[in-house]
Symmetry: C2
Subunit: 337 residues, 2 copies
């Protein structure tokens, strides 16, 4: 392993000069810089970043903590963040918590102990607030929250316009002529899901439809199925689901009750998972924009700016909610943006 001292010795200068030359300090003669660079290349030098980090008290690693990397949403957020961070000279360390709080705390500790430059996080389900985050990470490492955020924590936040998105999805169902629109709502200690719930509720009101009921508070396929059955038996003719997998469960529930989709039962999911466009009938879904969220989160970290950034969602209308009788009488509504 060749060090700056080796290069210094070979050139008859001191390690400090070599260090300066290699880190682009202006306080070094152009001639020396060239000599150093050439010698470094020749000897196959590579900076020991561990030593460098120890000395500087921080690294060029940015940690990203997500519940599960295999979810399309999160892997795309990571991709978006990477695209920005790598260009800025950072490297990215990815941790998954599998939705477990202890894993999240452990990841935060690990990142702190590795003196990361910053942390981008979408927290695991199961916490009511972000106290554990501050405790585990400390307060001097920049923190950016995305998607699932705690408003009470300091630092930047990147969120979707969940209210408006769910509103648009529900309104779309109403416009297709569905009249009893329930919801599969997701985890209620998450502000993102709470906002979707409110969007759904507001849309029903604005469309002059009866109040709907909440049939689930998790977004996995199994509960989607159970909740779907309940909704159908209670007389629902459509569901807005805060997740795609629970929506899928509901589709299966409708089938098992002999209902045709979209004729008898309409459904819109959320997240635009790959399978939604591949299944038959294809499933409408409220698309998040994860790549852009990742980019925004990375930008927020780089700029060190606090505050909330909102990334718009986009409704993908597909077969599961398209009855093609779009001219239904829905009261006009000023809230839709």
């Amino acid at each position: 392993m060749v060090t700056i001292s080796d290069i210094a010795a070979a050139l008859g200068v001191t390690p400090s000069t070599v260090s300066r030359a290699l880190s682009g300090s202006p306080r070094v003669k152009e001639e020396t810089r060239l000599a150093v660079e050439q010698m470094a290349a020749e000897m196959g030098y590579e900076r020991n970043v561990v030593a460098s980090n120890l000395r500087k008290g921080k690294s060029d690693i940015v940690g990203i903590i997500v519940p599960r990397i295999h979810r399309n949403f999160f892997s795309n957020v990571i991709g978006g963040a990477e695209s920005i961070l790598e260009a800025a000279g950072y490297c990215v360390l990815i941790c998954q918590t599998h939705e477990r709080l202890e894993a999240e705390v452990k990841a935060l500790r690990t990142l702190r102990n590795n003196q990361v430059a910053g942390v981008l996080i979408s927290h695991a389900i199961g916490a009511r607030d972000g106290k554990h985050i501050l405790e585990a990470l400390g307060s001097h490492i920049p923190l950016v929250q995305f998607d699932r955020v705690f408003s009470d924590l300091p630092g930047a936040k990147v969120v979707s316009n969940n209210f408006e998105g769910a509103y648009a999805a529900t309104r779309h169902l109403a416009e297709q002529g569905y009249r009893h629109i329930g919801t599969l709502a997701g985890y209620m200690n998450s502000e993102a899901y709470a906002a979707r719930l409110e969007g759904w509720r507001q849309a029903l009101r604005d469309c002059g439809l009866p109040e709907g009921e909440v049939y689930a508070d998790t977004i996995v396929r199994e509960t989607g199925f159970e909740a779907g059955l309940k909704a159908i038996d209670a007389g629902c003719d459509a569901l807005y689901s805060a997740g795609d997998f629970s929506a899928l469960g509901a589709v299966e529930a409708a089938r098992s009750r002999g209902l045709r989709i979209p004729e008898d039962f309409g459904i819109v999911g959320t997240a635009n998972e790959t399978f939604t466009s591949l299944m038959t009938p294809s499933m409408s879904s409220l698309a998040l924009n994860p790549f852009e969220m990742g980019r925004q989160a990375a930008q927020a970290f780089l700029e060190g700016a606090d505050g909330v950034r909102v990334v718009p969602m986009e409704l993908k209308v597909r077969a599961s909610s398209s009855r093609n009788n779009s001219e239904n009488q829905i009261p006009n509504n000023p809230c839709l943006k």
Copy 2:
């Protein structure tokens, strides 16, 4: 930030004693150890792993390099590896190369410079051999290759039984009565894909079917579509595809030619992506066992053992290849395991 010196000062001992006590050295009195541990807890001490790593010349980070984390296969490998590595006290750093060689080299460099304890890698498409890997990583960091491996590199390898898997998939198609079975083959400088190709070829021979043709050498949806059209126009009635996305393209090609699946055209993909079981008709697929591959790769790293580990594949028979006329006359074959 509290250091071992702080603890030492508070207890009237030296930093060396504290270090020994905290790292479980036997050369320290039980009493002192307890006192140190208590004081450490009290003062909220946490080891500075950067300093520790510098001193020890290595870290407890294991790097995992994959082409793309959003592929089901890779995210599950990562999950499997994590489950083993975290239990063993390592933390995991994930890098994605987006199939780009330069990104792979950069990742290897980054990992080496961070003095990782080891690297698990599935290399990007586009290299003929693993020279760049050795050059970038050096030879003293343990390397474990999985799925896409270079035989000529030293170190442990974890692979699927690609030959046998493709053989079984092709034979299954033959048993369903398909007679002109082509293949969408994948990248030929990858040993995994080459083995699948051979398995397909051998199965055709053993089943007494005419030699088939290779219609694609990439596994993306678009080329699957193009290649599917060609295969159909050339008289194929079935395809074994080395990837699920190309198989999906072929399904779309068959549809666009007005063929019914599986009646007129049969297809089996590879990888068992989530969508295969959700699409209509559901798609048969040769499942890899990524979680287990990840576990095996991690084990190989921990044990420091070289050699090749084989993880079996499993054929998932679904609608796209099920004509339910399973009694076709196929010569019995000793090769099938």
